[in-house]
């Protein structure tokens, strides 16, 4: 039984934590140019920008690094009328992509959630071993872990050991 999955860290991407009250989400969506998802774990996408709803009043926006100032500008423009918090966290996290037929089981070495219940295109904040992560199921067999930078060696260390374990076939 050959092992056919890969684990890789991704290049830097623009990330924001966006927070606002329910009544201002319409204004936010308008300024961003697409509808923010309304349920926790849902994602919405427009061009190369995505929004993932992490909490009742919290979204993670991702975009190319160079597109950040555009987002900052459009949201700053509506701040007086629709107060919110937009905080650049592009450097806080590093993304790790796990893809392949064994990806889900590879994550189950350290992730207590029932990953079968995380549908394609959804993401959640959860825990991997003892590390808080944002776990997104990008496709059926492709996951992304967003990990605070200083925890990356630990998470990658665990995944490396797990890959070796899967490769040994037991």
């Amino acid at each position: 039984m050959a092992f056919n999955s890969t684990v890789e860290t991704l290049p830097a991407m623009g990330r924001f934590s966006l927070r606002c009250k329910r009544e201002n989400t319409v204004a936010m969506s308008k300024a961003l140019g697409f509808e923010l998802p309304s349920s926790i774990s849902e994602t919405a996408q427009s061009g190369d920008m995505t929004a993932l709803k992490l909490g009742p009043d919290e979204w993670m926006l991702t975009c190319p690094m160079e597109a950040r100032s555009e987002i900052e500008k459009s949201l700053a423009a509506i701040y007086p009328d629709a107060v919110h918090s937009l905080t650049d966290i592009s450097s806080r996290e590093v993304s790790i992509r796990i893809s392949g037929p064994e990806a889900e089981e590879l994550l189950s070495t350290s992730c207590p959630r029932n990953l079968a219940e995380l549908k394609s295109g959804r993401g959640v904040r959860t825990i991997f071993d003892s590390v808080q992560v944002i776990l997104t199921r990008e496709e059926q067999n492709q996951f992304r872990l967003d990990v605070w930078r200083s925890f990356v060696p630990h998470v990658m260390g665990l995944l490396t050991v797990a890959v070796a374990e899967f490769e040994c076939g037991l």
Binding site: G55, P112, R113
Partner: protein, 105 residues
């Protein structure tokens, strides 16, 4: 390991994502300066030590990040209900019912 229903995520999730945050429904006094020493002492330190259903705060700290309230039986360690901050505590089940709560849900 418990499974806890987050009233915001509307999912039953592993205990590892949550943390306990003390007894629920103890509001900070509106004007602390007007509190007598005894009143303030009670607010700070006096907590119930229930053998049975206990209303407490939890936080889905490694999830949506929200604090919420829970009614938990301290004998069976079963959650009877979880509900949003600001909502009233639901009525406790009668004693002896907690054993079968999981089986009926």
């Amino acid at each position: 390991m418990l499974l806890i229903h987050c009233p915001y995520c509307k999912e039953k999730l592993p205990e590892l994502e949550f943390e306990y945050a003390g007894q629920a429904h103890i509001a900070r006094p509106e004007n602390p300066a007007e509190q007598t020493d005894a009143e303030w002492r009670d607010y700070l330190f006096i907590r119930s030590n229930v053998r049975g259903d206990h209303a407490e705060q939890w936080r889905h700290s490694h999830g949506c990040g929200r604090y919420f309230n829970a009614l938990r039986n301290t004998v069976s360690d079963k959650f009877i209900a979880t509900y949003e901050i600001g909502q009233a505590c639901p009525t406790s089940h009668a004693e002896g019912e907690e054993n079968n709560e999981q089986l009926e849900s």
